[in-house]
Symmetry: C2
Subunit: 207 residues, 2 copies
C-alpha cells in the first residue's frame, strides 16, 4: 500500500519547523522530506538535515529537469521539494512529512489528491511579528515582506483540511501528532493496510 | 458553536468500554453519554456511571415517549441512548462520546450527519472469543450469540470513518484520543470555534 503524504504549511515564522521537529521524535512511521533552497544557511541549520543548500544555477537546472514536486520563489529565494525522494518513500508505503510554504502546498494539492494538508497559523499577527523579530535572522526589509505575505497566506486556510493555531509549542506538537495518527486510522486506509480479506476473515473463523 | 458527537462502536467484548475509560482520563473537553439498558448489572458496574439500569416496562415507556436518540435489542436486552442529554450537551458546545452497539451506531448515522463514527475491531475472531470467555459474565449460550453477531457487525466497518484494531489497550487509547483531538482541528470546526472574523483579522492587523 502507498504511504501517506502530510503537507505542513503556514506563514514564515509561525513555528512549523519546531513543531515538526517535536513530532518527528514522537511518531515512528514518518520520514521528513528535506527541501532544496537557495536561501543562505542560518547558523543553527545543517546541510542535508534542514535543507539542501544549493546555488541558483543548480536549482534552476533541477527545475529544467523536472526534479521538483513543487517549487516556489518565497521572499526572493527559491525553495523546492525533490520529487524522487517523496515518490520513492510513498511507493514503499512510508509516510512522508513536507514542511513547505503556502504557495507550494497549494501546488501539491493539485498534484496529490489524497495528501493531508495542515495549516499552522499564528495566534495573532502581533505574535507573528514578535517571533520573526526574535528569530533575528531577517533584515528589516525581509521581515516586512514576510508579514505582508502572511496576510495573503492566511486567506488560503479554507483550502486546507486541518488548522493548528500555534499558541503553545507542546500543545501544537500533540495536535499535529494526533492528526498524523488519526489519518492512518481512516477506515479505507486501515483496510488497505491490513488487506480487506484479512480484516473480514475475522468474522469468518469457526466458532 | 455545536459540540461534536463521537460514536464509538464495535462487537461486544472488543474492549470499547476500557478504551473509552482510558480516553476520558486524557481528554478534557468531552463528556460520556450514559445509556439505559434492561440487561442485568455486572458486579463491577455502577448505576448512573456505566448505565442507567431500568426494567423493561420503564424502557418501553421511554421508547413510547421518543426519549431515545437510538435504541436497539442486543443479545436479548434493550439498550438506548437518552436523547435529551446528548442534544443538550451538543447545543452547549460540549463534545459527547457514545459507547453503543453497531446497530445503534448505524441508526445515529442516519440522524446526525456530522458525528464521528469509530469502529473498534478485535485483532482476530479467536481473540474476541477469548476475551468474552475471560469476562466470564456471559452464559455459554449468550456468548455464542455474541460471536455470531460479531461476524455480521464486522461487515458494517465500511460505513464508519475510523477503524481501531484493538491489539494493545494503551495503543488503542492513544489512537482514539488522537481521533478525538484531530477531528476538532478540522478547518471548518476551528473556524467555527474561533469565529471566521477573528481568525482572518489576524491577517488584517497593522504592521
Amino acid at each position: 500500500m502507498a504511504g501517506l503524504l502530510y503537507v505542513i504549511s503556514g506563514p514564515s515564522g509561525v513555528g512549523k519547523t519546531s513543531i515538526i521537529e517535536g513530532v518527528m521524535k514522537k511518531v515512528r512511521n514518518v520520514v521528513f522530506s528535506v527541501s532544496c533552497t537557495t536561501r543562505p544557511k542560518r547558523p543553527n541549520e545543517v546541510e542535508g538535515r534542514d535543507y539542501f543548500f544549493v546555488d541558483e544555477r543548480t536549482f534552476l537546472d533541477m527545475v529544467q529537469k523536472d526534479e521538483f514536486l513543487e517549487w516556489a520563489v518565497v521572499h526572493g529565494h527559491y525553495y523546492g521539494t525533490p520529487r524522487k525522494f517523496v515518490e520513492e518513500q510513498i511507493q514503499k508505503g512510508i509516510n512522508v512529512i513536507l514542511d513547505i510554504d503556502v504557495q507550494g502546498a497549494t501546488t501539491v494539492m493539485k498534484k496529490i489528491k489524497d495528501a493531508v494538508f495542515v495549516f499552522i497559523a499564528p495566534p495573532s499577527f502581533d505574535e507573528l511579528k514578535k517571533r520573526l523579530l526574535k528569530r533575528g535572522t531577517e533584515k528589516e526589509e525581509d521581515m516586512l515582506k514576510r508579514l505582508e505575505d502572511a496576510k495573503r497566506e492566511l486567506e488560503q486556510i479554507p483550502k486546507f483540511q486541518y488548522l493548528i493555531v500555534n499558541v503553545d509549542l507542546q500543545e501544537s506538537i500533540e495536535q499535529l501528532t494526533s492528526i498524523i495518527v488519526a489519518e492512518q486510522l481512516k477506515v479505507s486506509r486501515v483496510i488497505e493496510r491490513l488487506g480487506f480479506h484479512k480484516l473480514f476473515s475475522i468474522g469468518g473463523g469457526s466458532t
